[in-house]
């Protein structure tokens, strides 16, 4: 769930006399730099290992069908991004700017698909639309013995698009809320009709939102492991997993991971470059007016139908299929005690990850907000790596590192927690950053002028004020960890089962009923994370 992260991407603050920030005290920069170095470690090790293998790695890359993997991954990323954008643009506009029936209901419902982890979504796709799936079962009496195979690309495209379009929807919607209505009014008064105004004024204003939402979807798709594995589409993540797990070709797996990281960084840079040089915000101060509402008239009910269709395919169908199999599973007497231990494991590692990530993120956030400068910029950029790094790449790097240099840590909980910290650090830093920025440095100065030392000032003034933000960040990390699959799968101690890995192993052996119950439980849990995101969207308005 990366919406929150993007919202907190490093920004330039304006206003006030430009004071040169003082040199940060060691108690802040030392731990922050340490965190930065630790985060850098997996990436450096991956590069070092691949380069260490020298020509062997290059040979393997060329001998293996690497180009096919790259092209398939890029093709999937491009088409999922395009599909989600085309889907999200009308959905966003209709929920913010039109008199669509039940607008408020739809604006919540269209975000809910985010609660479905990709592997659960893919599982539902297989269950419902597989060659011998439920649909085929219903068609059997009509003489249909087998449905066409939709695995691979079409299945991945459909599943990932239906699950990830809310990312673009959320960013476009936020931009539509912020849009100055006077811009459209100026355009109309200058003689442009509603359509010309939309394409010449509104849409260009939405460009950064579309780009950042698209970036979220692209990175989500690129790093997705669950859906493409279950649907057997040979993109980076699944290929890497096979090379690591079944083919035991670790050098190739490492080399492919490094290429994957390079692709992710490339996508990140593309989004940066697309921002261009225009300014996209209200130029005038003054009270924000709410967006004006466009009457749809005879298009009102077709629009309603469009929403119903999207909600059916992205939410109602998968959830009812899931419910059906969960009920069947319970009726068939699936053992529930295994489920409870998996749930307990999930909660245990997620809580540890949330605590560790928040603690690691705090000095970085303080450094970034209170002592901007080159150290802060470097550390922040490094910790931002987790945003682009696919979980499988981090997991592999840590496996190799553990096996070669830190055998006592190999396949232990601490190493797993470390992977989570690297992956989710941007979330924790982001929310700590936002709440710190709301605490005026004057409060701290006032406290010091009243005779308190810096550490006392932090514990009596700053910390109590940023605590809600820190806890929200911890909550997000907790929920993200609950859903995380590839790193948990690869780094988890032997015999260590979480909800996510239980679903995955049951699903990959086609025990649908066994997978359905933990999946339902996980969806309930991750609903809270969506509620958190929606709560933030509401407050930002």
């Amino acid at each position: 769930m990366r919406v929150a992260e993007l919202a907190h991407a490093p920004t330039v603050r304006a206003g006030g006399p430009r004071r040169r920030a003082p040199w940060p005290p060691a108690i802040i920069w030392a731990p922050a730099v340490l965190v930065g170095l630790a985060v850098l470690l997996p990436l450096l090790y991956l590069a070092w290992r691949t380069i260490g293998a020298g020509t062997e790695a290059i040979d393997l890359l060329f001998r293996y069908r690497t180009l096919g993997v790259v092209l398939r991954s890029l093709f999937l990323v491009a088409t999922v991004t395009a599909t989600t954008t085309l889907l999200a643009l009308p959905l966003a506009w209709l929920t913010v700017r039109s008199d669509l029936p039940f607008r408020r209901f739809w604006s919540v419902i269209t975000v809910v698909p985010l609660v479905i982890p990709s592997y659960v979504g893919a599982l539902m796709f297989v269950v419902a639309l597989g060659p011998k799936g439920m649909l085929q079962g219903y068609l059997e009496p009509l003489g249909v013995n087998r449905l066409p195979d939709l695995y691979g690309y079409p299945g991945s495209l459909i599943t990932l698009s239906l699950l990830s379009f809310p990312y673009v929807l959320l960013t476009i919607r936020a931009a539509l809320w912020r849009l100055d209505p006077a811009l459209e009014e100026s355009s109309r008064s200058l003689g442009h009709g509603p359509w010309a105004t939309f394409f010449r004024v509104t849409l260009p204003q939405l460009r950064p939102a579309i780009a950042s939402g698209g970036l979220l979807v692209a990175l989500y798709t690129l790093s997705d492991f669950g859906a493409v594995s279950l649907l057997r589409y040979e993109t980076f993540t699944w290929t890497i997993y096979i090379q690591y797990g079944s083919a035991f070709n670790r050098t190739l797996a490492a080399a492919l991971s490094l290429v994957l990281v390079a692709v992710a960084v490339g996508i990140l840079r593309m989004e940066r470059a697309s921002r261009g040089r225009w300014r996209y915000y209200r130029s005038a101060a003054g009270a924000a007016r709410d967006p004006s509402i466009v009457r749809l008239q005879r298009w009102r009910w077709p629009a309603f139908g469009f929403f119903t269709m999207v909600a059916t395919f992205s939410l109602a169908l998968p959830m009812s299929v899931l419910g059906y199999w969960a009920v069947r599973g319970i009726a068939a007497g699936e053992p529930l005690n295994i489920l409870w231990s998996a749930a307990a494991n999930s909660i245990y590692v997620s809580a540890l990850a949330a605590g560790a990530t928040v603690i690691a993120g705090l000095p970085v956030a303080v450094l970034a907000v209170r002592y901007p400068g080159w150290i802060a910029a470097m550390v922040e950029r490094v910790t931002y790596i987790g945003f682009a790094l696919p979980g499988i790449a981090i997991a592999l790097s840590l496996v190799f590192f553990g096996a070669n240099y830190a055998l006592p840590l190999y396949q232990t909980t601490p190493l797993l927690i470390f992977a989570y910290v690297v992956l989710f650090l941007p979330v924790a830093i982001g929310s700590a950053r936002t709440s710190l920025m709301q605490v005026s440095p004057q409060l701290e100065e006032a406290a010091r002028s009243l005779g308190r030392r810096p550490l006392r000032v932090f514990s009596t003034i700053t910390l109590p004020l940023i605590l809600p933000g820190i806890l929200a960040g911890a909550g997000m990390v907790f929920l993200l960890t609950m859903k995380e699959l590839p790193a948990t799968l690869i780094l988890g101690p032997i015999g260590f089962k979480t909800l996510a890995t239980s679903i995955w192993s049951a699903a990959s052996e086609a025990y649908f009923a066994r997978a359905a119950i933990p999946a339902l439980l996980l969806i309930v849990v991750s609903s809270f994370s969506v509620a958190l995101i929606l709560g933030r969207e509401g407050r930002a308005r």
Binding site: S440, Q442, L443, E445, A447, S449, L450, G451
Partner: protein, 366 residues
């Protein structure tokens, strides 16, 4: 002569290569209220922050009670300086009640309860101890900020644009209140403002800051009527600078001789500064100029007159002198005090020769 409470010597602070505070010298006696006045970006807030200890100077020293608190080899942390600070946005701790805010600086004081009560009484907030800051009006928030800064009994209290967050009607009331509170507490105070009236209302002294340096220090009236530089003259209010020369101990201008004896050799190429209230107008068909512009300001008319030579002169006279635009008028200079002459944008020292017209110190120039 007692030691000044604060002495800044050669104080310098650079931001990105620009001297925000530029070799500034400043002294403050005990119990004095000093206004640092100047446009935004002139370095007045930076000066305040240097004294508070939130910025480290790049040069010069700051002494407090004879002790160096910032200098080439010394830097005292802000929490050790015993300097109270009232911030522009008050910076009240939002998670603490009024009482907790005021008590924050008294953590180790055995007498804290009494001191908190006394501070709140001084600012007139007794009874609001348990409120939280967001439940207070702007004026009340400012009182809390003052009480909090005063409670630990600081040597000096610093106020950064203390009235800029209040609405105009409240601002006037709080000016009177803040002056009373500071006086009653007997504390030495420095406050920063860009508002001339505010500086004059509260400050015993005004230090006008220009590009990081002190342009002039003095009583508010001194700065208005006896500016030492054209910058001070212009900043403190509207003025006409009339070309003048000194001839036989008299100041001669195109509208006549100014009733003021000066002991200076003949000189040309000077300007005499006329505040609008120094200039009087009489309707006269044979006058030297005509009314160009009229504006009512309270009980006074403000006029701009174009002399036949083309020179513009400003005048402010009682509302009973109502001249329409275009009326021909005689312009006379009736200052009631000595006027200041400038040469090359600096005031010229004109020692009085004859008996002074009104006040003896009217000719004091630095």
């Amino acid at each position: 002569m007692s030691e000044p409470v604060i002495r800044c010597t050669d104080l310098t602070k650079r931001f990105r290569g620009v001297n925000a505070v530029d070799h500034l010298d400043l002294e403050l006696e005990s119990g004095e209220i000093l206004a640092l006045l100047g446009p935004s970006g002139c370095g007045k807030t930076t000066t305040l922050r240097l004294i508070a200890g939130f910025e480290v100077p790049d040069g010069g020293t700051i002494e407090m009670g004879g002790r160096v608190v910032a200098g080439p080899r010394a830097f005292m942390a802000p929490e050790k300086r015993r300097v109270g600070m009232v911030f522009q946005e008050y910076a009240l701790f939002p998670h603490m009640s009024v009482e907790k805010n005021v008590a924050y600086g008294l953590s180790k004081d055995p007498d804290r309860e009494r001191k908190v009560g006394a501070a709140l009484e001084l600012v007139g907030l007794t009874g609001l101890e348990d409120r939280s800051p967001h439940e207070l009006s702007g004026g009340q928030q400012q009182r809390v900020a003052l009480a909090r800064a005063l409670a630990p009994g600081p040597e000096v209290i610093l106020l950064d644009e203390p009235f800029s967050n209040l609405d105009p009607t409240l601002r006037g009331r709080m000016r009177v209140e803040v002056r009373r509170i500071l006086r009653q507490a007997g504390v030495t105070a420095i406050f920063v403002t860009h508002d001339i009236r505010e500086a004059g209302n509260i400050g015993d002294q005004i230090a006008l800051i220009h590009q990081g340096r002190i342009e002039q220090v003095g009583a508010p009236n001194d700065l208005y009527h006896r500016p030492q530089t054209r910058y001070t003259a212009d900043f403190m209010g509207p003025a006409t600078f009339l070309a003048a020369e000194i001839e036989k101990g008299r100041i001669v201008t195109e509208i006549g001789v100014i009733p003021q004896h000066v002991d200076a050799p003949p000189a040309a190429g000077m300007q005499v500064m006329l505040r609008p209230d120094d200039v009087h107008l009489h309707a006269s068909a044979t006058g030297q100029g005509a009314i160009l512009f009229q504006e009512l300001r309270g009980g006074f008319f403000h006029y701009r007159v174009r002399l036949d030579s083309g020179t513009l002169v400003e005048s402010q006279i009682l509302h009973t002198h109502d001249f329409e635009v275009g009326t021909r008028v005689d312009v006379t200079i009736e200052p009631g005090h000595a006027l200041v002459c400038f040469q090359d944008n600096t005031a010229v020292n004109l020692e009085p020769s004859g008996p002074p017209d009104h006040s003896a110190d009217a000719h004091r120039h630095a």
